[in-house]
């Protein structure tokens, strides 16, 4: 039982911090920050940064050596994710976490040979095509169809809530291959080249200010070689790699940044006024938040420790993501409370505090409550898979 980083881990953390501080200077923030993108950076910068992560060896650092990876333990990956979130770096997304793990687990040798070398360099971006207009919380209700036709499958249907689809080179798309099947049976997984004829992308402005996307597939031909795993066994693929993504999403970096930013603000008086931190009520608020943040931080490294020991936490990753995102929302709420009259001021407004970020996050993080399962669905998952309560 060791709660501290050892010397080698701490050295890695320092290395990652130095990399991120070198790459993400205030000038870079000023030039490439973009609140119309879900990742809060321009698409071009996100892609360029992904390549830098690749060149620095970070994208593949946890991959097995047989795939050109660094074979480093999950503790190191957790440190990387933690620091990337704290520094608000772009690229900590499905193209780095979920997809490579899923390709390694379920992909054919040919798929691995074709895709992994590009993924590890950061050359390609992905979107995950699971959700549909009629299949959100109830994913097994998906209607998109894939029909075998010669050496191809022909995909027709609508994917919704498709994060970063506009910058994706490939889609990781679940479709119903057995037309007589129901629910999670008869689904298959496909890798779809987004430049294929018949793929169109629609834009949906969100209340957070960034634009979300949906993807329409109109008789899109996908070679049979791009079927992932076995025919009609797509549900296994959906479920099999999701815990890895949840573990990455459960990184504590964001919440720690929220805390450090709020603490810095509270320790700083405005226009010669009193410092909020001298108010015992403010101190109590900060202390309560610090306890929650610390709990979430340890939970995240607990997961990494289990993975590093070769164990496979299941519902625990859902729990950790719930804890992280609920805690982030606590910070959004507390920041609103502490910032008082400044709270609703948008970036650029006279007297806006913290560059308006708290107001942006109050809107942006709303998606935590429903995305990747969302709070209530995750509580169901924890109750049913973790506590074995009946369905």
């Amino acid at each position: 039982m060791e709660f501290q980083l050892n010397a080698e881990e701490a050295a890695f953390r320092d290395e990652v911090r130095a990399f991120l501080r070198r790459e993400l200077t205030p000038e870079v923030f000023a030039a490439h920050r973009d609140t119309t993108e879900q990742g809060m950076w321009t698409a071009d910068f996100t892609k360029a940064f992904r390549r830098k992560l690749g060149a620095a060896g970070y994208l593949g650092m946890g991959w097995p050596k047989e795939y050109g990876g660094g074979g480093r333990s999950r503790i190191y990956q957790a440190i990387l994710w933690d620091e990337m979130e704290w520094h608000r770096a772009p690229g900590l997304d499905r193209s780095m976490t979920y997809i490579p793990n899923a390709v390694m687990t379920f992909g054919s040798d040919a798929q691995k040979a074709a895709l992994l070398p590009k993924i590890i360099c950061g050359e390609i971006s992905w979107f995950v095509g699971y959700s549909e207009p009629e299949a959100g919380s109830d994913l097994a209700n998906l209607k998109t169809r894939a029909v075998a036709d010669g050496d191809d499958f022909v995909i027709t249907g609508q994917k919704a809530f498709s994060s970063d689809a506009h910058m994706a080179d490939y889609g990781w798309v679940a479709a119903r291959t057995d037309p007589n099947s129901e629910r999670h049976k008869g689904l298959s997984m496909f890798i779809v080249d987004m430049k294929s004829p018949g793929v169109t992308i629609a834009r949906h402005p969100t209340l957070a200010g960034w634009t979300h996307h949906s993807v329409h597939f109109d008789n899109v031909r996908v070679p049979r070689s791009m079927l992932v795993g076995e025919l009609h066994q797509g549900w296994k693929v959906v479920m099999g790699a999701i815990d890895f993504e949840r573990a990455a999403l459960a990184s504590p970096g964001l919440v720690n940044y929220q805390f450090d930013r709020l603490l810095a603000w509270c320790a700083h008086g405005r226009d010669g006024g009193e410092r909020p931190i001298d108010d015992p009520v403010v101190q109590d608020t900060l202390v309560r938040l610090a306890i929650e943040a610390e709990g979430g931080r340890i939970m995240s490294y607990w997961l990494a420790s289990l993975h590093a020991r070769g164990q496979y936490p299941q519902h625990e990753t859902s729990l950790a993501l719930l804890v992280k995102r609920e805690t982030a929302r606590l910070f959004d709420e507390a920041a609103m409370d502490l910032l008082g009259p400044y709270a609703p001021l948008r970036a650029g407004a006279p007297h806006a505090q913290l560059e308006g970020e708290v107001e942006v996050e109050y809107r942006d993080h709303l998606y935590f409550q429903f995305a990747a399962g969302g709070f209530d669905i995750t509580r169901n998952v924890v109750a049913q898979r973790g506590l074995k309560l009946p369905r």
Binding site: M1, E2, F3, Q4, N6, E9, A10, R13, P26, I75, W86, N256, Y257, F259, D260, R261, L263, A264, W265, A267, H268, I277, Q283, D284, L286, V287, R288, A290, I291, E294, G295, G296, R297, I298, M299, Y301, W302, A304, S305, L306, A308, R309, Q311, L322, V323, Q353, L354, D376, T378, R379, N380, V382, A383, Q384, G386, L387, K388, L389, P390, R391
Partner: protein, 392 residues
């Protein structure tokens, strides 16, 4: 970093849980709550025979030199089994205090006997004002002949009725921290005590010293040097109480989940209802966060006040969450658990008693606020980032 239980930890935890859950029937535990001493001496003998009293003691006193974390696993298990025992008064308060601060003859006199279950000790810190600050100590010690005389009244003294001696925190000067620890034999002339009946059968006592005379060798550590030892005692007490709270919460959640699976209403197990599932998921969430904070707390203590931040976080969280967890557990059970022959009430009461011990949630948040305002960086953990000041 490695936040996992190793094989020895798992074996220890399983052994301790198995013992704690089987040591006493629930009926016997309820009966013990009505007795003067509140615990079963036979069970304490078994615990000492397993080496639990001396787990962290040096070998020369019959100890196994286990880590505080390992003892915390045992305490967590005792909380899970609702096993009453003098482990807090005799080991966590007195044993560690003697190891820290006592003279060699004092250690020789007591530690081996504590290890073997032949002696019980307790520490009297608090008084009727309920405070945990040095200025809250009013009971006084003065020189008298070759020894000392003690006058005043201590309160909230754990297991005083059963203890062979009471290590008492008393005032030896006018400045707030002019405090001294004196080991008062229970049969000393002028000692009187009365039970303070409390939730969960917690054996708390008020102890009055009326012209009690003790020899010079009763002083633990040195005159006026007690407060640093008292703060360490409070720190350890809070860390181990957070472990006990985690055990209490785990038992309450287990009872609730089992009940929700079996109890059928409206033609279905109530555990299939989302309202019940969400309650259970939140109980589990709070329990796991409390458990990890508690593990970190007992792993972080070392010299001096090392781990102060981690312990305060663990006790603040567990003191707030675990009683709330037991309230939700009762909500899900409904009327059946309101009856005393259903075991949930044991945990409901123990959570109330444990959240109050060694500082409640507000006390520990106050500690954290002090750390926050005195040193922002150390407050932010082992490897803080530079605060983002580019905003200003």
């Amino acid at each position: 970093m490695d936040i996992t239980l190793n094989e020895d930890h798992v074996m220890l935890r399983d052994t301790a849980l198995s013992f704690a859950q089987g040591a006493l029937t629930k009926a016997r535990i309820r009966e013990l709550e009505t007795t003067e001493h509140g615990f079963d001496t036979g069970v304490w003998q078994e615990m000492t025979q397993m080496g639990w009293a001396a787990a962290c003691f040096p070998e020369k006193y019959g100890g196994a030199e286990a880590s505080l974390f390992e003892l915390a696993l045992i305490v967590e298990a005792l909380g899970n089994g609702a096993v009453p025992s003098p482990i807090f008064s005799t080991v966590i308060e007195s044993g560690f205090l003697l190891l820290d601060a006592a003279s060699a003859p004092q250690k020789d006199e007591w530690l081996q006997r504590i290890a073997e279950g032949e002696a019980l000790l307790t520490v009297a810190l608090m008084e009727a004002n309920g405070g945990l600050r040095p200025q809250d100590v009013k009971a006084a010690i003065v020189r008298a002949g070759n020894g000392f005389r003690i006058d005043g009244t201590k309160a909230f003294v754990r297991d005083a009725g059963a203890a062979d001696g009471i290590i008492s925190l008393v005032r030896s000067g006018e400045r707030p921290e002019d405090l001294t620890l004196a080991l008062v034999p229970k049969d000393a002339k002028g000692v009187s005590m009365r039970r303070m009946p409390a939730a969960g059968g917690e054996a708390l006592w008020e102890v009055a010293f009326n012209g009690v005379e003790v020899n010079a060798d009763a002083i633990v550590s040195e005159m006026g040097g007690a407060w640093p030892w008292a703060t360490r005692l409070l720190l350890r007490g809070a860390a181990f109480k957070s472990a006990e709270l985690v055990g209490i919460g785990g038992a309450a959640l287990d009872l609730t989940v089992e009940y929700a699976k079996q109890r059928v209403q409206f033609g279905k197990p109530i555990g299939s209802f989302q309202g019940v599932q969400h309650h259970c998921a939140e109980m589990y969430r709070d329990l796991e966060v409390s458990r990890l904070l508690s593990w970190q707390a007992s792993s972080s203590m070392g010299a001096g006040l090392a781990g102060e931040r981690e312990v305060a976080m663990a006790k603040a969280k567990a003191s707030q969450c675990i009683p709330a967890l037991t309230r939700t557990a009762h909500q899900i059970h409904g009327a059946i658990a309101y009856y005393r022959d259903y075991p949930l009430e044991l945990y409901y009461h123990r959570a109330l008693a444990a959240q109050a011990a060694y500082g409640d949630a507000a006390y520990h948040r106050r500690t954290l606020a002090r750390l926050l305002t005195s040193d922002k960086n150390s407050f932010r953990g082992a490897d803080p980032h530079e605060l983002p000041v580019h905003y200003f």
